[in-house]
Symmetry: C3
Subunit: 137 residues, 3 copies
Amino acid sequence: MSEPSKKTALTPATHTTPPAKFSHGVKKGNILQVAGQVGFGPAVEGQAPTPVGPTLREQTLQTFANVRAILEEGGATWEDVVMVRVYLTDTAHFAEFNEIYNSYFADLKEAPAARTTVYVGLPAGLLVEVDALAVLG
Amino acid sequence: MSEPSKKTALTPATHTTPPAKFSHGVKKGNILQVAGQVGFGPAVEGQAPTPVGPTLREQTLQTFANVRAILEEGGATWEDVVMVRVYLTDTAHFAEFNEIYNSYFADLKEAPAARTTVYVGLPAGLLVEVDALAVLG
Amino acid sequence: MSEPSKKTALTPATHTTPPAKFSHGVKKGNILQVAGQVGFGPAVEGQAPTPVGPTLREQTLQTFANVRAILEEGGATWEDVVMVRVYLTDTAHFAEFNEIYNSYFADLKEAPAARTTVYVGLPAGLLVEVDALAVLG
């Protein structure tokens, strides 16, 4: 590439402030990286980030909405995403998660992204975390 | 880059169908991303995906074969891989995994990929999962 | 990109030898990938890799130094990093880790990298592992 690539933070207006010095998303060159998103609803002034609900479905759909907002902030869509990393807390959630995933991505026009799903610990109350790598251009 | 980059799914003929709407691998621009692979043997019509055996060695070698098939489907090889992510379920498997890893990659001609190994939960019966990021061109 | 991209291993002189056939970092095309780093101090001949101390702070700062050495070996800096993956072993460490993170990155001039933090198992004695993806050019 002939020009130096600028690094841009992607910060949707409704997102809660990250709990540390990181960006919700970053664009540099042909790469757009979305940070780990969870099911926090839109930021409310003076209130700590809170998941939209206790269920896997509620949290997953909000998590996807949060990822999508960052993609859109960078001029991208789910169609540009090459990798989705899924962190669940319980292997018993796999089947339900996949149903939600399939419904959410039913209308994709291009090849779906690759995906890795593993089971980890997350802060209390959170059932799912998702990050995404997109290639632009 | 001057042309819009096409997004292509990489789906080796022998691979089992993914359990959700994701691709086993995706190529876009200069990036090839392999989804999390496990030790499932070649797809058998009418049969659920099944690991090739209960041992770490069997599953690891099949997992590597599955990753390689996706790379090759995209016109790439292990030499193009810059990152291998390894998910094990038991820290006691680290030494044996490394022996298998070293034998498998003994003939690499270029610099070996970077690697991160962490210990997570996986669905019952699975001891190892691996994904990979390759840079093409 | 018009020229084939060379793949280069990034191996800081003071780093301990990886426990298997992988590189501490790799550069290929516009991508620099740093392998999972932990709080091992500089290599000492004839001695196994050892964390610099038992505390989260000691290990985290050494881990960041180890990542940075690899970035610098590739002609990059933290400013080029688009994604930091953080693996902790205990959700109770999140707040302290963020304090250390914020201090360490206080002087960043460009947008901070995206980040995903999950809780996993690590080999005995290790409290934190970090890897990083940078985009060059």
